[in-house]
Symmetry: C2
Subunit: 441 residues, 2 copies
């Protein structure tokens, strides 16, 4: 038996606001940032997780993770492995913290749980996707909190569906691992020039990528022009996705997107508020005749919101995020529900470390749950990899190369950590204003 002896938390921020990478209608000058959580085990291993934020507020999350760490120090990894749902419930149902609900609290719990999953995978010497793929269906189902999800999917039905796909698992594992999961690239950040966007497109095209995403919502004239430019740059056959980051109301979203429909957008992502299930449903129904699907989920605050989005067919593309929910177990539940309602899982990969984590979920999904490519697209960003992660994600023939490092593969370059620690790191000297909450664009 081994036990957790220390939790270390680091506040890392990258001044992406310098270049406007990551910018959208709301996040005008984000600094891609993360809380790096490391849980040390007394056998010498350390489990890592990253939890993305847009800069200010990284410290709110760090505060939460530090506080939660008091609940887990001294507990045993084997206790988690034996009964992951009890561990989850200890945190999510904490009799005083529960009042804080989702947002920071659920994200902080996710930081802790994801780091423990990393430890588990490391003790088995497997990448996280492989740990999940090798877990028997019974143990996957037993790890999930089904209390609020049973009207969509019961644990019994989930078990049946997982068992039914077991027959094809070996074959699917071989083919998916070899081909990798299909990726798309977000190229059209709102604050970038056309030239800079074109440069990104050409860079990722050379890696075989043929699906691209653009931010919209700045204004119709601007967007019509940029959509024309993008369609021209990517070609008539490429999938071109759009993302509004919640800028519109329900009716505005419908009217706006009808006017962009000539450029053939594959989906509109987050057309309105993150939790507006019935709003998404209305938008889906109105845009269906135009061939535009609705994507959402990167800010869906709970598995219950995902449940409703899926049951109501309010989304056509399910965008799990790696760090907003309460860790692996919440995300597995969402992937299982998405399969039942036949909605492809297209994870959100913006932000530092997210691409590195989502690839594991997509591998599990495409090997054990929904099967090889039939519309699942995994977001890819071609920055903040080399020099940041010791095992950066890489793209080949338009797909993520399957990770081979153990755990999530989130080990970071020591120099990167040193330089980007906020506010003491070298990168932050003389830049205080853009890092702190006092800076408003």
């Amino acid at each position: 038996m081994t036990k957790f002896i220390e939790v270390e938390v680091k506040d890392l921020r990258v001044p992406t606001s310098d270049t406007l990478h990551g910018s959208d209608p709301f996040h005008k000058k984000p600094n891609y940032s993360c809380v790096l959580t490391s849980i040390k085990n007394d056998d010498g291993l350390a489990g890592l997780s990253v939890n993305f934020t847009a800069g200010a507020g990284n410290d709110w999350l760090m505060y939460g993770v530090r506080d939660l760490s008091k609940l887990i120090i001294g507990r045993k990894l084997e206790q988690f492995i034996e009964d992951p749902v009890s561990f989850y419930l200890m945190l999510i149902d904490h009799h005083q913290l529960r009042w804080l609900a989702d947002g920071v609290a659920r994200m902080a719990i996710g930081s802790i749980l994801n780091a423990i999953w990393d430890l588990w995978a490391k003790t088995e010497q497997k990448p996280l996707w492989k740990l999940l793929v090798d877990l028997p269906p019974e143990r996957i189902v037993k790890s999930i909190d089904w209390r609020y999800l049973k009207d969509a999917l019961t644990p019994e039905e989930a078990l049946d569906r997982l068992k039914n796909s077991q027959g094809k698992k070996l074959e699917q594992e071989k083919s998916v691992v070899q081909k990798g999961v299909k990726a798309y690239s977000t190229a059209g950040w709102l604050g970038l020039t056309d030239q800079k966007i074109l440069q990104t497109i050409n860079e990722v095209k050379s890696d075989g990528l043929d699906c691209f995403k653009i931010k919209v919502g700045k204004g119709l004239d601007f967007d019509l022009e940029r959509m024309a430019f993008m369609r021209d740059a990517v070609g008539v056959d490429a999938l071109l996705m759009t993302d509004a980051n919640q800028i519109w109301g329900v009716k505005e979203a419908i009217n706006y997107m009808k006017q962009l429909s000539d450029f053939g957008p594959h989906w509109i992502e987050e057309p309105t508020a993150r939790d507006d299930v019935f709003g998404y449903k209305q938008i889906s129904e109105a845009l269906q005749p135009y061939g535009i699907g609705v994507a959402g989920g990167e800010q869906a605050p709970s598995p219950v919101i995902f449940k409703q989005l899926l049951m109501q067919k309010a989304i056509q593309f399910c965008q799990i995020d790696a760090t907003r929910l309460a860790g692996v177990q919440d995300v597995l539940a969402v992937i299982l529900m998405a399969e039942k309602f036949n909605i492809p899982v297209c994870p959100h990969g913006g932000g530092i470390g997210l691409c590195n984590m989502i690839v594991h979920y997509s591998l599990w999904d495409q090997i054990c749950v929904s099967g090889p490519y039939r519309g699942q697209l995994v977001e890819y960003l071609n920055f903040l990899q080399d020099g940041v992660f010791l095992n950066p994600v890489t793209i080949e023939k338009g797909a993520y190369k399957t990770p081979t490092a153990v755990g999530w593969g989130l080990e970071m370059n020591e120099d990167f950590i040193h330089d980007h620690t906020y506010p003491t790191g070298d990168v932050w000297q003389g830049r205080e204003a853009s890092g702190s909450i006092t800076f408003v664009a």
Copy 2:
């Protein structure tokens, strides 16, 4: 012109876990706690707000409020009064913090905004309800962020509806202020003995209260017995409400409540997850033949969730909370939507300071929006008033006496603050375990 010069934040916790006041199926040993925020103006006035939590996690919220205070120091009260929605947007749309979404972040923003509303009311020498009642409909409507709400209610329609009720306003103000808003009492906390519950019922009955609420969800046998006891104690004609604090899944809630239906529960509150709009709708439809309504909202994390609950008729009683949303403006929006969909507003009043705040909302609702009593019930708790607040809420003939103190009337007894400050106050010496996150029931 006056400006905000200092924000002071206090962490106050009451060891209610000693007596199990406030206990329910999830919050087994809550310590009723609050973040007390005080915004000092350079004219010598201070605006106060309290934001309730269940103990651990109070410090998470305090961390957020302190950070947000950096955004408002030096700004002018007149800027807020002139254009409250711009001030709201500055906080809610902060280009980096927005990623944190609801939960702690929205609650912290609410702490700041509510304290500024308190300051505003104090400069006009009015209780908060009177400030709201005297604001012209145009200014109420202009204070609200309508972006995500327009499919339920447009600002134009809200203005029309408010203007239409202006004719009766003077008369309604006179009668509502004199009678007060009708209250109900939560007597049956889960952890209390029958004897203790009976004592509370008799205490509040002597104040004229004739509606009572009981916690359910511990187990069917236990609840059947307690419901029988409660019905006997309150009498056949009294309204008897039930509250499950989200303990069930959708189908469980329906089956469980059917079995309690003989005792005539007026409503079941939070039968399932706080954000399960579609689940609430299913439960509402299934229990409608049994005469049991669904109540919800105390943990509804955003105005968008309220919008959906109301539009979908998923709730029959709309339970605004005074401190979960982003302050007065969010709550006014919910009250206006509830009126349009003809759902009575029955605010949540558990927890320290909540009763003191919700009475202002109910007065505005019943004077300017939905009109005098037609099913609106305002929760009342008969503890944590005397000795805590300088102007405690009081009950007369079953109704809240209309507050006369300026602002929210949240000024606290200095000794109470001193003794209950966590972790340094006298009350917390030797009780460390029950105050901190390390304590798990």
